[in-house]
């Protein structure tokens, strides 16, 4: 039975990774699960220098999901390389590094820095974080800027580039095509959805940042549609994510057109989710007599 998939030049032994920002830098979960069973480890978003992030409260629970406005707290490239890379580079599975910047040049510079680092699996360009004032989502909701960012990173590195698109667009197809044309090797669909919650007792927003990103099972139907539309628009592979809790959810993304999937919010409440998803995909394939996971990709039947 083949579970391996190819995301550009990146080979994943199975189609399941974790979503950036929901798995730290891998090491935190290493005591709870064997990271080498994953398809890849994807780390929290990193930019050039260290970032403190937003004031608290930074997350809030909502129906079948959560809001977050972490504000991309992180150690920066150097901090990451010093503190987390020694651990990550020893894993037998690849690391996908999620990167961001506030200008096109910054994105490219971060990409260049990681290009120089031996052993990185792929770079994921976060052009869709709704929780920072500059950068983030603006690059993901403007096709031109998106092209520029992707093209600049493309010039800065030979590593596989995964562009992580924003869900907050009228139609995802033009963005998917812009990323493909600018040289992206793959897409990640989707980031969190802009949202808000208010505590009626205090009249304050539940997040200090006022608004934040909605994630978890509540956004799955939105994410499935985006993956389906993006897959129709481009030829490059897609990593699907948004509310995956179990193998059935993951298979739904594969059928919609994703070549791989990422488990996000579910890690917070069930750290074993990604491993359970892998096991579940395997037994689904056994039950259905499917030999290669790639047969599932895009197999939704839309004409009745």
């Amino acid at each position: 039975m083949n579970l391996a998939v190819q995301i550009g030049a990146l080979r994943m032994q199975n189609p399941v990774t974790v979503a950036s920002g929901t798995f730290g830098y891998g090491v935190e979960y290493a005591r709870l699960l064997d990271l080498n069973q994953l398809g890849a480890v994807t780390v929290k978003g990193i930019c050039l220098g260290p970032v403190r992030g937003n004031p608290t409260p930074r997350t809030a629970e909502v129906a079948s999901g959560m809001l977050n406005a972490i504000g991309l707290q992180g150690p920066g490239v150097d901090g990451f390389i010093a503190k987390y890379w020694p651990f990550l580079k020893e894993l037998t599975v690849p690391t996908i590094i999620n990167i961001w910047g506030t200008t096109v040049e910054e994105y490219a510079e971060v990409a260049r820095r990681f290009d120089a680092l031996e052993g990185v699996g792929a770079l994921e360009l976060n052009v869709s974080c709704p929780n920072i004032k500059e950068g983030g989502a603006q690059f993901g909701t403007d096709c031109k800027l998106l092209s520029q960012v992707v093209a600049a990173c493309r010039r800065a590195t030979r590593l596989p580039l995964i562009t992580k698109l924003s869900p907050n667009v009228v139609s995802i197809a033009p963005y998917a095509r812009a990323a493909e044309e600018a040289g992206s090797d793959a897409l990640a669909v989707t980031n969190s959805y802009p949202a808000m919650a208010i505590d009626v007792e205090t009249r304050q927003p539940k997040l200090a940042n006022v608004t934040g990103g909605l994630t978890g099972p509540c956004i799955k139907p939105i994410a499935i549609k985006l993956v389906w539309e993006a897959a129709k628009a481009v030829k490059i592979p897609i990593i699907g994510m948004g509310g995956i809790q179990d193998a059935t959810d993951a298979i739904e993304f594969l059928m919609a057109g994703a070549s791989a999937v990422a488990v996000g919010t579910a890690n917070f409440y069930e750290p074993q989710t990604a491993l359970q998803v892998i096991a579940g995909i395997r037994s689904f394939m056994e039950r259905k007599g499917i030999r290669d996971v790639r047969e599932i990709v895009g197999s939704v039947i839309t004409d009745r």
Partner: protein, 261 residues
């Protein structure tokens, strides 16, 4: 750190809105240190997904117990669960209290409401008894006084409405005690943030060391999501540290009570 599906052995009302939950959680029970917590997944709460953090109150053999107050959705659902039902437990988590040495400072514990729960293991494992200052709004908020006395500790209770013990704030008898003699004392506090802040100031005034268990909202409980951060002094000014990982127990001298501009 472990993840277990654990069984409820008992889940009974202690007093008022407080419940005592006993779990069969051998692996976690064996490893837990005073001041650590467990992160509980309340399975019947299907549309609310996140785990809830609770201090480990007592641990004996394979069993572990929690003392919790019903304050919202999760604790309400939890209070209706029964012996035999299952919960998800992740733990032991976090950085706990420094267990006193027999030759060391005298431990003075300061607890507000369910903060008392974080203190029991510390008192139990301390080779020398000390004093617990326990405060609450009303009589029902003063928890498990007898269990601390049974460990040979003095308990000094305070209620805001005067319905039990001294009338006033828990920090008042603490100040009285420190005025009497502040030498070779160490404070350990767990309770609402305003109380912790008051304790930090008192520790500063009397120049006694203090360890504070901070109560912040959590999401993952294991350091990956960066929800639970508080501003803490650092080499280059300040940084956000994670209550679930670097804490929940912090040295009172390091905690910044406001985010620097």
């Amino acid at each position: 750190m472990l993840e277990e599906l654990v069984q409820i052995l008992a889940n009974e009302r202690e007093v008022g809105a407080y419940f005592r939950l006993t779990l069969l959680a051998p692996e976690i029970a064996r490893r837990v240190q005073p001041g650590q917590f467990v992160h509980i997944r309340i399975l019947p709460m299907r549309d609310a997904l996140l785990r809830r953090p609770f201090s480990v109150f007592q641990a004996a053999g394979d069993n572990l117990s929690i003392l919790y107050k019903v304050v919202g959705k999760g604790t309400a659902v939890l209070s209706r669960m029964q012996a035999g039902d299952q919960l998800g437990a992740l733990g032991p988590l976090g950085h706990g209290f420094t267990v006193p040495k027999s030759s060391g400072e005298k431990p003075l514990l300061v607890a507000g409401g369910y903060g008392m729960a974080a203190m029991y293991l510390l008192a139990q494992r301390s080779p020398r008894p000390g004093v617990v200052f326990v405060g609450g709004r009303r009589r029902v908020d003063i928890l498990c006084e007898q269990e601390f006395r049974a460990l040979g500790w003095d308990v000094c209770a305070t209620t805001e409405d005067g319905s039990y013990g001294h009338r006033g704030l828990v920090t008042e008898p603490l100040v009285t005690e420190l005025r009497r003699d502040a030498k070779r004392k160490r404070l350990f506090a767990c309770g609402p943030t305003p109380m912790l802040k008051a304790v930090a100031r008192i520790a500063d005034d009397f120049d006694v060391p203090a360890e504070l268990s901070m109560d912040e909202h959590m999401c993952c409980g294991v350091g990956v999501c960066l929800t639970c951060v508080i501003p803490v002094k650092s080499a280059d000014g300040w940084e956000y540290q994670r209550t679930c990982t670097e804490g929940p127990v912090f040295d009172s001298k390091e905690v910044l009570w406001e985010v620097p501009r």
